[in-house]
């Protein structure tokens, strides 16, 4: 997995709350057996609308998505995170995220950043104006821009470590083999 340490990139605004994973990647794209090829189908139905936020010129080339509360709710489909990552998003900033979606982000090199709603509103306004870049630093747990915005966030410590080190989580857990075997023996 690609580690996430620090990223500066263009931000796109998607000022909607409760964006569910069915919108992020509709079901007709879940029939594949590979982890690749999802980027072009991101927000497939919404992108048919020329006025959709990500179709606007100011959102082109964005690598940071700023959006509303409860992002990624609904279906557990990890394809949603694959689609976001393959479209080019490295970080998503929102007031809150759905739990399964968060777990999926940590395992795919995509950083979810929780910020208070008022701060997200500021970023949404600035991103909607276009040509707006944000710095996200996972080591320092900070978000900033060139216009004086600066905020700290508190990532899940385990998720942070997975992201910072781009860890193979399975390889790491397999090192716990003696504990797993002992658990199995005592519960046989």
């Amino acid at each position: 997995m690609t580690p996430f340490v620090r990223h500066r990139g263009k931000a796109a605004a998607l000022p909607r709350r409760d964006v569910d994973t069915d919108q992020i990647i509709p079901k007709q794209f879940l029939k594949g057996v590979d982890r690749t090829g999802f980027g072009a189908s991101l927000f497939y139905d919404w992108r048919a609308d020329p006025n959709f936020e990500l179709n606007r010129p100011e959102a082109q080339g964005a690598t940071i998505l700023v959006t509303g509360a409860n992002f990624g709710c609904g279906s557990s489909r990890e394809h949603a995170v694959w689609a976001l990552a393959q479209y080019g998003f490295r970080a998503i900033i929102a007031p809150s995220f759905a739990d399964i979606f968060l777990a999926n982000c940590y395992r795919n090199g995509v950083l979810p950043v929780h910020l208070p709603a008022a701060e997200v509103e500021t970023l949404l306004r600035r991103a909607a104006g276009g040509s707006y870049e944000i710095d996200v630093d996972l080591e320092q747990c900070s978000v900033s821009d060139d216009r004086g915005f600066s905020a700290r966030f508190s990532p899940d410590p385990y998720g942070r470590e997975l992201l910072l080190r781009g860890l193979d989580e399975i390889g790491r857990t397999l090192l716990e083999e003696p504990s797993i075997a002992a658990y199995e023996q005592s519960h046989a």
Binding site: K31, V33, S75, S76, R107, Y158, I170, S179
Partner: protein, 464 residues
């Protein structure tokens, strides 16, 4: 003082890792065709094995056709995914309920049906509605494909312990009010993120009065309130349901199992992080009017007016939802004309659901403007219904009687809504495009959907 969830969690901690994160042992891993192929591919790439194939159960449900099973799957890409699960199951020694198996069905219907779902277990599946199994007092949660691969390889998940929310439901349900109405009303009350970061334990006399299948309906939709899982403490209803099922303990093991299962309950003075209460006696039949399960109201209510809402955020969300749904503020919900009816899904396609719906449609006929289908939750539910003659009741009333699968709950197979079609559905999600691009979904109970099929519009089943 520990809660039910504390007890199940504590019994499964293999090791506490740093920062409150634990390595948790998984007793049952359910696998289906859509979220597993990349996980198996990862195992093969890294030359890893499935640690406990005997604790893993697979079936095909999400993308399978529900029509004639003697024909090959028409969708070549879906067929490839179904084939992939077959070859992965063979390669890794995992039991599979394939398309031609009498045990095939929606993964959350067949686990309980087999008695594989048991109290006190940790159960995972690459599907958010895994919360269904919590009805037995299991900690059952949906996971992503990377975690599926992790569980296949290690039989463990790594997670930080969620907080615990008690949802206490008290009082007697009125006639015509179903378990579906209780959970929809609760989601309406706390919102689609109301239980984020929490495991819900449903308590109270309105919960203990529910049948096992009704409890599954409640726990199934925990995820729609944002919860990591939903749980109900096992009791005599649970044990009676499990006794004699194929995977349930037998003989001398049975009383021992029941004795152990009885310990999975919350202490009377247990501490929950959050409390919610709902008086079941005040709940009427519920219908969603928007594009999240939290956009829900009593059937006697009207479509809300965004202008009346307190925040700009809410006004925008509701305006967008009503535009998608093609509804005007102030319209009475009862009377909204519908085109389709879907009786199915892991929420409401068990035998009791079909019996309740059949009682409504018996001797009547589906409205001329409606296409209605019944998709049983499993082939065993289908067979049971046929034995009871329910298939004839539905067929004579003009319903299509189909084979088991997720079907039009998520529209991965050919069962989809057309753009603009309005559907009364017993499933769990009314998201934009969920049942088909441009399709409009109203979630409700099986009896409400059955009555809507007959009248061709949303109706209050209590008037029947």
């Amino acid at each position: 003082m520990r809660t039910l969830f504390d007890r199940v969690w504590d019994a499964h901690v293999v090791r506490d890792l740093a920062d409150g994160v634990s390595l948790l042992y998984v007793d049952l891993h359910l696998v289906h065709e859509v979220t597993s192929p990349q996980a198996f591919a990862g195992l093969k790439r890294e030359k890893r094995i499935v640690r406990r194939p005997e604790l893993t159960l697979a079936t095909v449900d999400h993308n399978v056709p529900t029509g004639d099973r003697s024909l090959p799957i028409a969708d070549a890409i879906a067929a490839r995914q179904v084939d992939a699960l077959g070859s992965n199951a063979r390669e890794f020694g995992i039991e599979l309920f394939d398309l031609d198996s009498p045990g095939q069905g929606i993964v959350h219907v067949i686990g309980p049906e087999l008695g594989a779902t048991q109290p006190g277990m940790v159960i995972v599946c690459g599907d958010s509605h895994t919360s269904t199994h919590g009805a037995f007092g299991a900690f059952a949660l949906g996971i992503g494909t990377s975690e599926v691969e992790h569980v296949l390889a290690t039989q463990c998940i790594v997670m930080k312990k969620p907080r615990n929310l008690e949802a206490r439901l008290t009082g007697r349900r009125a006639p015509g009010v179903s378990a579906k109405d209780l959970i929809l009303a609760l989601i309406g009350k706390i919102g689609t993120a109301g239980a984020s970061g929490h495991v819900i334990e449903y308590t109270g006399d309105a919960i203990s009065a529910l049948s096992m299948e009704e409890r599954m309906t409640v726990c199934n939709m925990s995820i729609e309130a944002g919860a990591r899982a939903g749980m109900i403490a096992p009791d005599e209803v649970t044990f009676a349901y499990l006794e004699g099922r194929p995977r349930a303990p037998r003989g001398a093991d049975w009383p021992k199992a029941v004795e152990r299962w009885q310990t999975f309950r919350s202490d009377p003075t247990a501490d929950y992080d959050t409390h919610v209460r709902l008086d079941a006696a005040t709940v009427g039949p519920q219908v969603t009017w928007g594009t999240t399960p939290g956009m829900v109201a009593d059937i006697t209510a009207r479509v809300p007016d965004p202008a009346q809402l307190p925040s700009e955020n809410e006004r925008e969300a509701v305006t967008r939802a009503l535009e998608y749904m093609g509804l005007k503020p102030g319209t009475p919900l009862a009377g909204i004309p519908i085109d389709r009816v879907f009786l199915g899904s892991c929420t409401n396609a068990r035998i009791e659901d079909l019996r309740a719906a059949a009682n409504i449609v018996r001797g009547r006929h589906v409205s001329a403007r409606v296409r209605a289908m019944v998709v049983p939750g499993s082939q065993r539910v289908k067979a049971q219904a046929e034995q009871e003659g329910l298939d004839s009741v539905f067929r004579e009333a003009g319903f299509e009687w189909r084979n088991a699968g997720c079907s039009m709950c998520l529209g991965m197979n050919a069962d989809v809504l057309g753009a603009g079609e309005r559907c009364a559905a017993t499933s769990n999600r009314n998201f934009e495009g969920r049942q088909g691009r441009g399709g409009r979904t109203h979630l409700m109970s099986p009896v409400m959907a059955a009555a809507a099929a007959i009248e061709g519009r949303l109706v209050d089943v209590r008037g029947w």
